[in-house]
Each structure stands twice: as structure tokens, then as C-alpha cells.
Point group: C3
Chain length 474, copies 3
Amino acid sequence: MNRLHVIEIGFQWRGLALLTAVVIGTGLVMTCAVGEEPAPGLNDTQVMIDTLWVMIAGFLVFFMNAGFALVETGFCRGKNAVNILSKNFIVFAIASLSFWGTGFALMFGNGNSLFGLTGFFLGGADNSPLTGDAYTGVYSAISWAGVPLAAKFFFQLVFAGTAATIVSGAVAERIKFQAYILFAALLVALMYPLTGHWIWGGGWLSDLMDTAFLDFAGSTVVHSVGGWAALAGVLMLGPRMGKYGPDGTTNAIPGHNMALATLGGLILWLGWYGFNPGSTMAADGAAISHIAVTTTMAAATGVVAAMFYAWIRLGTPDLSMTINGCLAGLVAVTAGCNGVSITGSVIIGLIAGVLVVEAVLTFDKLRMDDPVGALSVHLVNGIWGTLAVGLFNTELGLFYGGGIQQLVVQGIGIVAVAAFTVTASFIFWNVTKAVLGLRVTAEEEYVGLDQSEMGLEAYPVDATTPEYKIAMGG
Amino acid sequence: MNRLHVIEIGFQWRGLALLTAVVIGTGLVMTCAVGEEPAPGLNDTQVMIDTLWVMIAGFLVFFMNAGFALVETGFCRGKNAVNILSKNFIVFAIASLSFWGTGFALMFGNGNSLFGLTGFFLGGADNSPLTGDAYTGVYSAISWAGVPLAAKFFFQLVFAGTAATIVSGAVAERIKFQAYILFAALLVALMYPLTGHWIWGGGWLSDLMDTAFLDFAGSTVVHSVGGWAALAGVLMLGPRMGKYGPDGTTNAIPGHNMALATLGGLILWLGWYGFNPGSTMAADGAAISHIAVTTTMAAATGVVAAMFYAWIRLGTPDLSMTINGCLAGLVAVTAGCNGVSITGSVIIGLIAGVLVVEAVLTFDKLRMDDPVGALSVHLVNGIWGTLAVGLFNTELGLFYGGGIQQLVVQGIGIVAVAAFTVTASFIFWNVTKAVLGLRVTAEEEYVGLDQSEMGLEAYPVDATTPEYKIAMGG
Amino acid sequence: MNRLHVIEIGFQWRGLALLTAVVIGTGLVMTCAVGEEPAPGLNDTQVMIDTLWVMIAGFLVFFMNAGFALVETGFCRGKNAVNILSKNFIVFAIASLSFWGTGFALMFGNGNSLFGLTGFFLGGADNSPLTGDAYTGVYSAISWAGVPLAAKFFFQLVFAGTAATIVSGAVAERIKFQAYILFAALLVALMYPLTGHWIWGGGWLSDLMDTAFLDFAGSTVVHSVGGWAALAGVLMLGPRMGKYGPDGTTNAIPGHNMALATLGGLILWLGWYGFNPGSTMAADGAAISHIAVTTTMAAATGVVAAMFYAWIRLGTPDLSMTINGCLAGLVAVTAGCNGVSITGSVIIGLIAGVLVVEAVLTFDKLRMDDPVGALSVHLVNGIWGTLAVGLFNTELGLFYGGGIQQLVVQGIGIVAVAAFTVTASFIFWNVTKAVLGLRVTAEEEYVGLDQSEMGLEAYPVDATTPEYKIAMGG
């Protein structure tokens, strides 16, 4: 590495280090001033059990970071593996700082119908686990959950981390490492919490046309938000070199390790048992078990549909399509998992499995290069799942005699979230581009990001140093 | 791929797609007619805690799918890795549909002493979590568990999936992909639930000679049933090409990735903490903690015994034997984990560890080719564990003054389950053979199933397309 | 393998087999004599919930075995992968037997201020889950936890296993397989429980200068004890061949699989949610959620600090440093996680992340070869975390107006544990050396332990036997 390169790196990390320092410094001031001790609360059995459940579900959702890391790494090339693993490892760390600093406050802090304005660095007053009228504090929007503030923060944090990691896959194999980190920090600090506030934080989408936009565990709040941000990134970055031929052809760039990808898919499936049933944020046995079953059936039918549909459409039971079919079913049932019947979940999953295959083919036709299929999984099926609530919810859905109203509200929410997230994403991607640049050079892409950016190979050949030979008398 | 091949694939998937369509279609009709809303139940603390425990234990058992996938993939060759991963990924999806459609009803639905007859597609009446005399519904056999029906279904489903996945390893590297899928669907839909009904569903083995056949968490119900079905498959398929030389020699065909296999073994061990302690289906702290300890000690002594015994017998502390020793100890303690002492579990595990090594060597002598040792682990130690209840159960076991009766009942159960499962398996394997064929051709086996069947390599070399060179100005 | 080698192996395993036989045999006698039935206890809701939590947390800690296995395997060379995987697989089995036999009794059995003297093989009287004055039994030191004895044993066992596995990484790639097993058995049976007794077992460090040495979840009890034992091993063994050049240079010996290492790091992070919050040993929602957040923030800042600091210091955002930064933050917050504020945990993690990078570089300067950075993570940050309690504890810490006293007590504890553990470790390493030898030969190290010791390759090329060619007509 020559001196200029060192200086350049020096320049670039300084921006991020500065950001980190500002975030933490502010945190020090805020929390020293306000104090962060959990308010004395009820210590009764219900609180205890609810808290256990929220925490355990949160641990499962945390583990999804491993799932995302493995799916993305497995679906991409070995020359970029360290880069991808690093992105996925640091993204949750960055998300933790960002969500602590501003994300949680913007999303759940008291404010207006567009964003929260209080409670940064978890420094606001709060007497959780008291609920309802007994609650006093600045996080009213989540005061329905009878668990300590720290439990609410932890559970919401692992969700925020998920949204950030969705972006990673779509922009893989050509984005600058630092650019992804900065964008992920901005997404969790400023963008994800805003639309989240609209829907889960008591904002304008939580009461619209006499009903609420329904998104139980986040098909829109988490998955399609991640998807829209990824879409903007894909458009900004352009396709990987060699993905689309000059004559309109699409070249398959197969992932380097299907075992890792499959393990990742199963870990994500496991994690979803925290994601969906955990969104009760209470130990409601009937709801939890019902949600676990609808989640299972949608995943199962997503798998079956994607595999057989790929078999027909492409001639082989493509394993990468099968894995994405599973994830598609899971994303699609996320919004409605609590309110659809088992049969509803089966249909939602079947459609998700077909959709994901068609979406992968369509994005390629549009020359929008998404190495892992993140757009097809999280964006397309995030939208599908959100609409499906308006169709299959057993109380309000069109197919269950609920009329068209819920479907309309779902549509309005989807469009509003899309408009905001795409706009904000383009702004943030452009900020990132201006500060750090977005895309590695053609040479760096060609040799792989591990060599050009990370200084480490994922799978080096075993080292044998000259000293060995000396030691062996050779 | 030529046109004929496309047509042939087209023909083959149609059978499976049809099956799926019939299953789901019937589900639609059934559940629309009967409704599937959980009955209003008790919402008290005990139900809440019991349900949490059952669900969390079920999540751990679900994760065993990842363990089985990695052990089998790691123990087999890289040229078949995508095939094995795909089998393990789809098997739980197929099991979910099959068990929803017919499995749960045949196993736990009210019926006669041979099989259940009611409650298909979870569509039967049920007022769970009410129990005992307060229970009314069609799933009386499992009405002892005070949790919602959805929780019972989920927990039993992940067990059913385990039985199906056991077969996968024994028939690996030469079975047709579609044939395995069809057999797994039949196993979970029709075969596993029947013997399950005999033992756990109130059937004839649950009350025999004034006692019950004891199989707490399924050494027989799950493991040896999977093992017997696998045995029939091994006999139908014959050994892999080149495994046994014409001169009576056995050729080692080493697995391609011991890191994946080891990780898989540890995930299975983790999952067993759901499998065994979870089979309480109630938050009984004394039972759960005792079972976790007996499970741990049997796994530990299985590891130690298999490693040292292999070291003596084979000259090296063979890691694949060590992993299988762990699984052997776990399978063996599964039947008795709740009723044996810690010392009992230690002895059960020690014997299991020796048994698994001898069994692997014996099956090879018999030229029965089982690539991952599934028969030695699940069948042999499923039998051993079931017999061990008759010896070590601290109330009824022979070594604890309980006389010979329990041991006799255990023996009767083993023989009856074996007779039925082997017979049914041969029928189903033959049905599968007739519909789809069982074994790939010698050419397909030689090049590997990933190339011949799956259209995807597990570990391709990083792609470099011509467009790269153009982009690089080359 | 020639005959002499067989005899030699035969000689060596006999020692271990004998040890095992003695352990188990004694167990049989003890437990038959005393009985091991759990005492009849309270069956109320609190016990039930507490027990569930302790067990689930214990399962998460158990899973850390997989994390350690993957980090160590990934960070080392492929030629030693089977050896490392085997060490990590068997160590928990060995720990289970050792801790059952003597460890738990020495640590928590009634005795004096230096060690417990009663309750070997879990054979002591005990009426858990009764607590406080209602408790009668021989494990008084842990009678504060209102859960069954089996739950206490299980949770403490998974901690003991962790201490043993820490050693594995530091001595990797040159220690004899048997030597590690014997040392690990001695560590868990005799060494770890003694210092554990001082701190958690009611010994002299639990009441010193009118306060207690504070180590909530084991920065010292588990991590630095493992680290000191590893340090002695590193000094006894010397560096790997070729690590340090004759001219004072240090040669990087890169690990062979960063994907496995990263997955391992994330599994460890997950497991820590059992390790730290679980150390409440009670379903205290406020404590559990607070601890999960401080644990998260320390891990997150450890990641960020290590990555950016490595970037400055070494020129690249080194992934192995990043993973170790995460573990460093986790180790450092372990002692104080329950008693520091979120801001405190942020600072603890930031410092840990910098410390781990400097420590890795320093140990290399000292020519102390630690292939995975275990000393830098567990020893250095175990010490840092223990001192940090004296600084950041919100009641007793220096920075919170608590004066210097707690910091002094923390220092005394660190020095005492270090003195004992280093001394005992040298004794045990020397015993091991005398019985089995410590280090493989230069030839064995050169070809790799998998070939020389384990008789198995981790990643063999797919086998194609001559029979294939015959079958193919070739």
C-alpha cells in the first residue's frame, strides 16, 4: 500500500470515527444529565413472563444477523467474502449506536404524527413496565407493552438492525466498505425510525380512515423499507461488471458456497420465530402459537412453491430460489401473521414463492443487479405481505367480508412509505457518495474487495514460511 | 438440457405438484368448513408459561433441521452437497404440509387403537388449553397438555420433521431428489403418525400388560421409526458405486467438510435440549432441569466412549465417530431421559458410544451402505435407548427392582413398530420407485447429483465473464 | 501406522480411559449410596419461571461451544482443522464428567474459604429450590438461587466448559491432542472450581474489606482464569514453527476460513445473552433486560473500536481484529454488566476494542504465540472488565463517587486469582507433559495435526475409487 492510499484511508475513516465520537459524546452528556435507571415498576408475574418472552424473542432476532451474513456470503463470490462478512458483522454494531442515539427516540419518543422528538440516548423519563393510564414518560407510543424500557429498546433494536442488513445484499460486490457503513448508520439513525413512527410509533398511519395501517411484525416497517433503500442503492451503483452483456444477455454469477447460504436460510427461518411471534411483546400463548404456525406454513409453502415453480420455469429445482422462496414466504406473512388463518398463510406463502422467482427474473430483465435477491425477497414480498393483510385478515380482509377499506389503507401506507424511503435513500446515498464515494474502481472489483479493501483473504492456502523449512532442516 | 429431458422433468414434477395441490386444496375446503380458530381457553399464568416453554423448545427442535443438513452435507462428498442441502431444506416444508393435512389427525385425532380418524387439517373441534375432564374436542390423546392446539401442533410437527430427515442421510448420494421428497411426504403423512398413535396417541401400546410402552421423547417414535424407514431405503437402493469392492473390501468415502459436520453435531446437541426437556410440554422446572442433565451426560459419555473406543478399535480418535457417538448418546437417552438417574444416563451414553462404532463397522460388513451412519445412530441406538428404559428407569427398570415386565413391554413395542414400519416403508419405497424411480443412473452418480439433478454447484470457482475483460480494457 | 505407533497410542489412551473409568466408577458408588433425586421443593410459579430462564440461558451458553469451535477453526490452518474441531467437541464432554465428579462440589459445596468439601457427583443433600433459611443441604453457597439443583448444576457446568475451551485456542496447532484433553479435565475438575469457590462459592473473596469482589458473570471467574491457564500453556509450548523469524520478525499465519470464524463470533455474541443476563439465575425482568442492553452496547462498541483502531494502526479494517474486538467487549462487560449504566458499557467496550488490538500486537512482540488471540480477548479484557467494575459500577465505582475501595478489592482478587491459576496451571501442564508429552514433533506440526494425529482430513477431495471406473465400464 503506497503512502497516498494510506492518507486516503486516513481521511476516510476520520469521518466515521468523528461520527462515532459525536454520537457517543452526546450520549454521555445526555445520559449523565437525565439518568438512565429503569423506573421502579411492577414486579409481578405477568411483567416477568412478558419480559422473558420479549428478550428471548429478541435473541432469536439478533441471531438473524448470522443468517443474513451467511446467505449473502454464500450467494456471492469468494473474492468478496471477507468484505461481506465484515459488513454484516459491523452493521449491527453501528445500528446499536445509531438506534440508541436517535433511532429509538425518533420512532417511539413523544412527538408529532411524523416523528418522535424526545428520549434520545434512552435518556427520557419512563415508568415502564407500567402501561396504559398508569404510564408516564416520553415513550407513550410503546407504552402498551408491559415490559421494562430496556426490553422494549432491545427488541426494537434487533428489528432496526434487520432493516439495515437487508440493504447489504443488494449492493454487494461493488460498494465501498465505508460507504455501506455510513449509509447503514444514517438509515438506522434517521430513516427507518421515521416511517416506523408513522406505523408503530403513533404517527399518521396508525390511524387513517377510521382504521390503522396493519403491519404486525414489519413486512413494510422493516422489510420493504430495507428493500426500498436497497433499490435506490442498486440504481445508484449500477450492476456488477460482467453481469449484463452488451448484447442484452444476463450472465449468472453463482455464489461460492451454497452450504453457508443454506445454513443462513435456516438460521433466518429460526430467527423469524422471534421476529413474528415476538412482536406480541407479551407472553400471549394463544397468539404466539398461532403466529408460529402461520409463520411456519408460509415459509413451508414459500419453499415448495419457489422450488417447483423454478423447476418449471428454469428446468432445475434451483436451491438459491428455494432459499429465497422460504424467505419470501416469511417476509410476506410478517405483516399478517397474527390475523390470518392457517389456510390464509398457506396461500400467502404459495404466492410469495412464485413471486420471488418472477421478481428475480424481472429485475434481471431490467438490468437491476441484486446479487442475493434482496429486492425480490424483502421489497416485492414486503409489499405483497402488506397487501395480503387487506385480503386475508380474518376480521377486516376483503376475502373475509371486510370490504375494500383495509386494502386501501394498506395501499396508501405502502405508497407513502415508498415515496419517503426512496427519496430519503437517494439523498443519503448521494451524501454518502459525496463524502466517501460509493463504488470501488473496476480494478478493485475485478480483483475482489477482500484484496483491494479488506487486506484479508477469506480462504487463504495454509501458510508455510521459510522458517518451517529451516526448522525441518531443509 | 435437451428437449426430452425437459419433458421428463415436466412429467415428474407434475406428480408432486399435483400432490401438493390436492393437499392444500383439501385444506382449504376442510378449514373453511370447520373453522380453525383456537377455542377460547384459560388465559392463566400456567397456560402462559407452559405455552412459552413448548414454543421455545419447539424452536430449538426446528433448528435441528440445520444440524441434520450440516452433518449429512459434511459427511458426504462435495459433488452432492447442493442435493443434500436441498433435501434437508425442503423436507421440513413438505413435512409441514403433510403433518397439517393428515399426520397430526392420524396421530392424535380421536379414533381407534391403531390410528386417529378425526381432525384433519387441524380442522377439528378443540377447546385447548383446557385439559382432563374439561377438555372437549377431537384430539383427546394430547389433551393432557395445557397449551393451545397450535402449540401442540407446532411441537409435534417439528418432531415429525425430524423423523423424515433421518432417512435423508442413509439414502444420500444415490437417491433421486424427487423420490426422496415423495417418500418423505408419505412418511410424515401416513406412516410416522400411525406408530406414533400407538404410543403417544392413546393407541394399543399406550396400555399393554397393565403398563405403558415408555418412550418419553421418542427413541422409538421418532428415531427408530426414521431408522427403519432408512433401512428399507438402504436395502432398496443398494450401496453407492465403489463403496464395496468386488473382493469384499470396504472403501472409505470421506465426507468433504468436517467443519460443517461438527457444527451440525453441536447444533443437534443444542436442539436436543428442546427435544427432550421440551417433551414435558409443561414448564415443570424439576423435570426440565433433570432431563437436561441426563441428556447432557448421555451426550457427553457418548462422545467420550465413541472417541476412545474408535481410538482403540481403529487407531485414531475418529472425529466422525465422535460426532456420531454424541448423537448416539442423545438418541439413546431420549426414551428414558425423564426417568433415569444421572448415573443411569452416564451408562446409557457410554454403551451408546460403543454401540455406534460397532454398528458402523457391522453395517459395512453387511455391505449396507449408510453414508452418514444414520442407521447406527438412530436405529440401533433408538432400540438401545428404548430397551434401556426397561433397565434403568428408577421406578420400573430391571436394575432398580422393577422386574422384567417393563423390559418385555419395551421389547414388544420395538418389534411391533419395526414390523409395521419396515413393511410400510417397503411399500412406500416401491410406490415411489414405480412413480418416479428410486436411483439415479451410474453416470449421474459418477458426476454427482449437483450436476446431474440440481443444476448448481455448491462451491463454484469465482466467475469471471468476458465482459470483465472488456471492462478492464483487456 | 506401524506397530510401535499403535502400542504408543495404546499406552496413551489407557491413561485417559483409566481416568474416565475412575471418575464414572466413583460416581456410581457415590450416587448409589446417597441418591440423587431432586429434593421435593416448591412448585410455585416463581420457581417455574426462574427455572425456565436458567435453563434457556444455559442452552445459549452451551451453544457457545459451537462459537468457540468455529472461531478457533477459522482462525487456524486447514491442516489442523479436524484436530481443533475434535478438541472443541470433546472438551464439553470432558468438562461434563469432571464438573459432575468434583468441580461442582469444590466450587459450591460446603467447605472452607478456600474450597468446597462436600457434594461430589451431585450426591449431596439438597432441598432446592428452597432458599435462604429454608434451605438445607450441602450447596449453601448457591442456595440463593430458587431453582432445582439440576438447574444450578447445568448452568454452572456450561460456564465451566467455557473456561476450558478458552485454553484451546491459545495452544492450537502444536499441542498434542491427548495433552489438551487431560489438561482440560484437570482444569475443570480441580482448578477452575477453586478460584470459583473464592468468588462465587462463599470463599474468601466474597467478603473482603467489608465488600465483595464483584464479578457478576465471570470476567475473572471464567475468562481470565481460562486466560491465565492459556498463558501458562503458551509459555510451556513456545510458538508455532515459523511464527517468529530468527531476525525478530513476526510472520502472519492467516486463518483458513473467515466465514466460519465470523459465524463463530456471532454465535458467541448470541451465547453471551445467556451468559450475562442468565447469571441473574432468576427471571428478574428489569435486570435481564438491562444486562442484555449493556452487553449489546459493549459488544457493539468493541466491534467499532477494534475495527477503526485496527484501520488506523494496521491500515486495514482487519476482520479478525473486528471479531476479537466484539469478544473483547463482551468479556470486559461480563463482570459489571448488571451494575453499570449503558454509557458505562459503551466506554468499557470502546476501551476493550482498542486494548485487544494492542494486546495482539504486544504478545507478538513478546514472541508469545496465541493463534486466535485468546489471551488478548479473555485474559487482558477479563482483567480490564474486572477493574472496570471498580470504576463504572453505579453504586460503588470510583467514577460514581464510590471511592477507591472497590477498585482495590477488584485488584486484590485479580492478583490472587492470577497467582493461584498460573501456579496451578504450570503444575498441571507439567503433569500433563510428564504423562503424555505436550508438543507434537516438528514433522507432525509441519504436515499438520490432522494427518499426524487425527487420521482424517477436514476437506478431502471427493473420492473416486477404481470400482467407479469399473462400474462405468472404464
